[in-house]
Every structure is written in C-alpha cells, then in structure tokens.
C-alpha cells in the first residue's frame, strides 16, 4: 500500500520587500514526485535549502501544496476534514531537540499527542509506556527533559510521535544538532522501530552514512528531485553527488578513488567489509 505519494507537488511562497509588498514568488518545491510504500525506509538527501524540509512539512500537512497533490495514507492533505488523520498517520520529528519537547517531565511530553487526540486516560498511560520502552527511555520517564543529552531528547521526541500510533514517521534532520554518540543512538532507535513495529520511515538528512540502509534514496536540489534510486545506485555516482553539494561515506570515497586510479573495485561500495573483500579479491 502507498503510504506517502506526491504528484507534481509544487510549493510557492510570496517574496516580500522591506515594506511587506509582494515582489515575487519563490518556488521551494518544483513538481516533486514521491512514492513510499508501507514499511519502507526512504531517505531524502540534499544540502541546506534544497527543499527537503519543505517537502517533509507537506507529509504532515503543516504546509499544503500550491500545486499538485500529496496523499498521506490515501488522504489528500488539502482536505481539511482529514487534517487530524493525516497528522496522526505521519508523525514528525524535528531537528532541534529542545524546541519540540512541550512537557516539563518526559512522560508528560510523550502523553501530549494522545491527549490532543482525545485518547482515554488509561490508554494514554499504556501508549506512553510502550513509546518510552520502544525508544529505551522508560527509566527516564519522571525526569526533566532539560537534563537529558541531545540524543536522549530526540528519542523522547520519537516516543512522543509513537504514542500517537502513526503508520509513518517523518524525521526531519533529527541528527543535525547531535554529536556522533547521539547520532548513533537515534539511528539505532529508528532501525529497531522499523524491525519491530514495521513503521514506514522517511529520513531527511545530509549525513550520507545514515542513508546506506535505505530502501530508496531521493536527492533534492533547488526544490526538485534530481536523483532517485537504491543507495548503491546513488552512491555510485560520486561526482554527481558532489555537484549537489553532498558527500559520500569515506569508504565509498576510497573505493571511488581506487577505481579512478585503475583498480577494479565495484561501483557503489557502501560498507567497510565490502571494500575489504573487494581489495582482498584483487591481491
């Protein structure tokens, strides 16, 4: 089943001068097409300002298209009667860990979504516990979010989304403000969720390493989808990625460098073991 589907999606906003007069239109999304099936893990890559966050905000109906259509779990996001359903189906985790935690106690924050949905009290508690357990934060339930690390805060934010029992989680650069330890922590959590709960995951990021396990990758530039394929296909095109101001994992870079210097290693190597294997075969 299609979880997220976009067709010719366009988003424009007015550009204003100092006095507030409209001087032109900015096109942040330009005829974007996207297909994500239930249970898939899709990564959307692009440098800052490429339109990837604008696209993410459409999946949660925080923004609605100026042209084209976005369907979430079969519902048109422009249909205001479906707003609650859209937002419940596609939960969203944002970049800044501090600015998305509303509660002053971890468990109360996780309960915020279900409270808004009008879930009965007993059921809220069950969901809060499930959510915190799923992200491994249950022992912090009574803590203040202020004393947690960045990675822990993001896990709480993920639990807050899980408590709304979404079919799909959209993570908008969840690791951009974290250190490597926090980054690993968040990614491990997301991977486990996928395995155990079979939720659809859409990860928006500019860390290429985070995308190597994806089922599909979309690369954005100037509001358009400019590359699309499996990680192996995408990371095989190093020069093109560099042109879009992106990077590849160091291992991929090394493989590419060796190939450029005439060594016969396969294209689109993603992991250390693959590269080591390929080199051993040559010697």
């Amino acid at each position: 089943m299609e979880m997220i589907r976009a067709r010719e999606l366009v988003y424009e906003y007015e550009q204003r001068d100092d006095e507030g007069n409209v001087v032109g239109m900015n096109r942040a999304l330009d005829e974007v097409g996207l297909d994500v099936r239930q249970g898939q893990f899709v990564a959307i890559l692009g440098h800052n300002g490429s339109g990837k966050s604008t696209l993410a905000k459409h999946m949660n109906a925080i923004l609605v298209p100026s042209g084209g259509t976005m369907w979430v779990n079969g519902r048109d996001t422009r249909d205001s009667g479906e707003l609650v359903n859209v937002r419940r189906s596609a939960g969203m985790v944002f970049q800044n860990p501090d600015n998305q935690i509303i509660g002053t106690v971890v468990e109360e924050d996780v309960g915020f979504g279900p409270e808004n949905l009008g879930v009965p009290t007993g059921e809220i508690w069950r969901r809060v516990e499930d959510g915190l357990r799923a992200v491994g934060m249950i022992e912090y339930r009574a803590h203040s979010p202020n004393k947690l690390s960045g990675g822990q805060k993001q896990r709480v934010a993920i639990a807050g989304v899980l408590a709304m029992e979404p079919e799909c989680i959209v993570l908008d650069e969840p690791t951009a403000m974290l250190d490597p330890v926090g980054r690993k922590e968040v990614l491990r959590t997301v991977q486990e969720l996928r395995k155990r709960k079979n939720v659809t995951v859409i990860l928006i990021t500019h860390y290429m390493e985070e995308a190597i396990d994806a089922d599909a990758i979309y690369v954005m530039e100037g509001g358009r989808v400019v590359m699309q394929g499996t990680p192996r296909e995408i990371f095989g095109r190093v020069d093109e990625l560099k042109r879009y101001r992106l990077d590849v994992p160091q291992v991929t870079m090394l493989a590419e460098e060796l190939r450029r210097r005439g060594l016969d290693v396969p294209c689109g190597i993603l992991r250390r073991e693959e590269l080591v294997e390929a080199i051993c075969r040559l010697s």
Binding site: I62, V84, N96, N99, T104, E108, T121, N146
Partner: protein, 274 residues
Amino acid sequence: MIREITIGQYYPADSFIHRLDPRVKIVCTLLFLISLFVQNSLPGYVVATLFLAFVIRASKVPFKFIVRGLKAIILLLMFTVVMNLFLTKGGAVLVRVWIFQITEAGLRISVFMAVRLIYLIIGSSLMTLTTTPNALTDGIESLLRPLDKLHVPVHEVAMIMSIALRFIPILLEETDKIMKAQIARGADLESGNILQRAKAMVPILVPLFVSAFRRANDLALAMEARCYFGGEGRTKMKPLAYGRRDYMAYFAVMSYVAVAFAAGRFLPFHVWIF
C-alpha cells in the same frame, strides 16, 4: 549565577506531599500564606513554625535546598529589615546613631517581618518544589475553570504558563552563552553608568529575542504536528481526582489554621507583635 535560583524549581522525590493533588497544594498554600498575614502573635507563629517544619519533613525535600531558594530574596529581606528597624518608632530606644535610632518596637517588628517573609517564601517554594510545573498549571486550570463561563481563556493561559516554565531554564542557559560570546568579543557588561550599561545589554537582548522567537516558532510547529488544536476535545493523561490523602491534607491545614488562630487568641502567655 542566575541558575542558582530555586524558586519555581521542582525537586523530584516520592513523598506524601509530592503525591497530593495540585489543587490541594495550591489551596493549602494560599491558606497558609493568609494565615501568616492574619497572625501577629508569638504563639501563632510558634504553631506556624511547627506546622512548616512538619510539612518540610513530610516533603522529603532537603532543608538545604529550600534555604538556597532564599538567596534570591536576600536583598528584599535586608531592605525590609533595615526599613522596619529604623523607621518604626515605639517603646524604649535601644540604640541611637546620629539621626537614626532603633526602638524596641522597631526591633520586634523587623524580626517578625523577616520571619514572615521567609515563611512566605518557604511556604510557596514548598508548593513548587513538590509539584511538577505541569501539575501546577493543571491545578490552576482546574481551579480557574469556572472563569471559562466568563470567556476567560483558561486552557490557553495554563498552556502558556506551562510552556514558559519549560523554556525558562533553556533561555537562562542561552543568555549565559550569549553573554560569554559577547564578552569574548570584548563586550564590557559591568562598568559604566546606568545608561551605558543598558546600552551594553543590546548585544545580549537582541540575539536572545531572536532566539526566543525562533524557538516559539519551532515549538508551535511541533505542537501542531502533534495534533494540538487548542483545549477542545483534549483528554488528560493525569486527570485531577481527589483521593483520601487529599482530604486528609485539607483537614490537616484546616486544623493548623484553627490551632494557630486559637493559640494567638486564647493562650494566656500571648505576646502581640503589633
């Protein structure tokens, strides 16, 4: 520095007081504060002291932690004491320095005013120390619920309060960071007259406001994304319900008020402060 302020901070512990319904704590705190204002006899204050000591004990909040909260009001406290000490006339003159004199009444009143102020602060910080800010706003929301009929946006006000409580520590930390960054660029925040100092705050305040607005914007998006559409149709994770211990607490505070009142009025060895 600014982070040492403990007023409004929650101290996590598992105690009888912590588990009370926030409405009970708000109402009882108000009763206690009123009782302090109404009381002006020594026996009444003895009862108040015993009661306060009992509540502190029951709250499991370390006394040291409570005392630290008083640091914030030390200036106010000193001001009150000094004003009362020198400006109250009555009774025998104890000390005379130049045009100032300390009278017996002045000494008595300044001591009692200081005690009253300290008890006021301890009493109210006990409430905030034992109640999570969210529970507190829930309590206020519930107590103010009748105002809904007068079209007062009770839910919204409570939500604003709880968000403010969540972001105060974050913004304090941010202020600290911005100050350091500007000092690193040679900013002088400490010398000069009032005007110069006010001007020196601009490089701190502008980034702080920009950051606060950015955070507010982010937060609004995050709340919307989690299906927040205002108070209507919301359920509560922690609905307020009175239990046995809450009635016990009401009873205890009522008893305290009665005993304190009786002690002040009927004990033969009473001493009036005023």
